[in-house]
Symmetry: C2
Subunit: 341 residues, 2 copies
């Protein structure tokens, strides 16, 4: 029910994925009559693949987290998270309010053992033709070095599960000036990552996200959120200006007609709808957040990513990675205790 558009996007996207992947079954949470209507319009074929799970309320995009969490206990979002909790669903995909989704998921599902803070990760298209996984994007501000290490571990598991990359490289987002190599937390996180056994590349700068220097870029949620919003702002401005220039007058419109196939190819390459679907990591269940303004195509991508995470065992991969890290730290501590003796 959530997102800027709601059912006219989410239901047709589900229908499309059901057609594409015969292994998928959908539990659609929300107001039954409205969902039924959207489903009929979407021409679903085999109706047994879709089950409607009633929910009487909807979390609004501007609802404060407290309202979503405490007062709307029968929201489509909450009912969806409950389904994951009860293992009736393997994953939840929502285009709703990010803060509410994170808060409800965290409250209902709880964090994994060994994870202190869940994080939000997304993929950003890079120059190499792939995508850079970046986290955290706003779930956590005021992070400690240990939190940044956790984000790296979770990012690695995500990258292995979704992008099928073995031992992906990890970069720590930092600033470039020689004088002041990052704040205290980042310096400490760098030291932790160096000893982590992860494929740690070292510090990276903002432009490395697009160079694709590392598979994963780790930063605190304040920085990640601000960077992501800034990038969206720039991309939007560039798109608007390009359009304005090509629609200025008949001459430029004619030029636009001639250039259209090229411009379309360009647009496809920078189209971030391809990478729609941010992962909420570190929870005892799989939750993906679609962009609120996603269209049907973008929403199918978010569902595909969630499906990939289920099929390739994101939760197990994360749990294993966390356990290995904990054992490693215990062993290192034991060794240093022996050395001290």
């Amino acid at each position: 029910m959530g997102g800027d558009v709601g059912l006219p996007v989410t239901v047709p996207a589900a229908v499309q994925i059901a057609r594409q992947y015969p292994d998928t079954h959908f539990l659609l949470t929300g107001v039954p009559e409205q969902i039924e209507q959207a489903l009929r319009q979407a021409n679903p074929g085999d109706l047994s693949r879709f089950e409607i799970v009633p929910a009487s309320e909807v979390v609004a995009m501007d609802d404060p987290v407290e309202v979503a969490l405490r007062r709307k206990k029968d929201s489509s979002m909450r009912v969806g998270v409950n389904l994951v909790k009860e293992k009736r669903a393997d994953a939840l995909v929502s285009a709703g309010n990010t803060g509410a989704l994170m808060a409800i998921s965290r409250y209902v599902l709880k964090t994994m053992e060994g994870i202190d803070r869940p994080a939000i990760a997304t993929a950003i298209p890079n120059q190499k033709g792939g995508a850079t996984t970046m986290l955290d994007l706003g779930a956590n501000v005021d992070c400690s070095a240990q939190h940044l290490l956790e984000f790296a571990i979770m990012g690695v598991a995500l990258c292995e599960a979704i992008d099928n990359i073995q031992k992906p490289t990890v970069g720590l987002l930092n600033i470039g000036e020689e004088a002041i190599k990052g704040n205290e937390v980042v310096k400490e996180a760098s030291a932790l990552l160096h000893c982590s056994g992860l494929n740690f590349y070292g510090n990276v700068e903002g432009d490395d996200i697009f160079k694709g220097t590392t598979n994963i870029v780790v930063c605190d949620g304040f920085v990640g959120n601000v960077v992501l919003k800034s990038l969206e702002g720039l991309a939007k401005m560039i798109g608007t200006m390009l359009k304005q220039e090509f629609t200025r007058n008949y001459l430029t419109m004619a030029a636009g007609m001639v250039a259209r196939p090229v411009l379309n190819r360009f647009r496809d390459r920078v189209d971030n709808r391809n990478y729609n679907g941010a992962a909420l990591l570190g929870l005892r269940g799989i939750v993906f957040k679609s962009h609120g303004s996603a269209d049907i195509f973008a929403y199918t991508r978010a569902i595909e990513r969630a499906r990939g995470a289920v099929v390739r065992g994101l939760l197990e991969k994360t749990a294993t990675a966390v356990t290995q890290m904990t054992q490693r730290i215990d062993r290192d501590n034991a060794e240093s205790t022996i050395e001290q003796k």
Copy 2:
């Protein structure tokens, strides 16, 4: 002498500005023979407008700050800062190593009374057709709320002096999630700014930089640097991809020929060379930092901005703003003392 290119950029740019503004005189610091040669090639006209001040060393772009500051005491950069200190120059423009320039400027010129930390500010083109002034961009990590307030005060003075805007609006860069409205420092800074008497708009998000929601966007140097580098990375990737698509084959090249006038207009609008020249604020002297990779046109823009700052009294404006703020705080403190009695 500094920057990626050095004299072939800096000297012709100075010559061009000398031609354009009859009130400008240039002190060119560096190796005399090399400067003389560059000057001859640039066809300077009236040579009395150019004076060469010898300096035997050059700060390399990758020199550690300590080396630039302690070991290269006869660098073109250091000699330039000394000229500002001795009031032989009204302003310094350099395309050299940012960290070194800030460290040397701070060491030689000192900070203004009432300013604890100098900051770096730049202008970023926005959708409204103007530019958003953003600071700090990397001079300070681990900032306090008081520092963010200082940045706002300095940003206002810069905006009034360079862009000639009265009572420019100030936004505090923050994240958008309802759950977690920024980290502790940002929350405290918001409270300070609300009582500051500045034209404080409130919190802004990353995309507001491009929407032009406020004239000034304030953030700590870590965030500012990462955002700026990320934006440069995205802009570069978009430019590269657009070029790749138009040069893919004869057909796309033909389309590119037809579309060229439109694409050129577009390029001019998003061309950040127009806004080259970051201001080092809060010092007892005017210092502008050009992008290291600036070409002649971009470098003239940095010189123009520095000239504007001199002509429209940036230092006086900043000093006045700081004094007013200090008096205001003293008065508020006095009032609250009376109330307590």
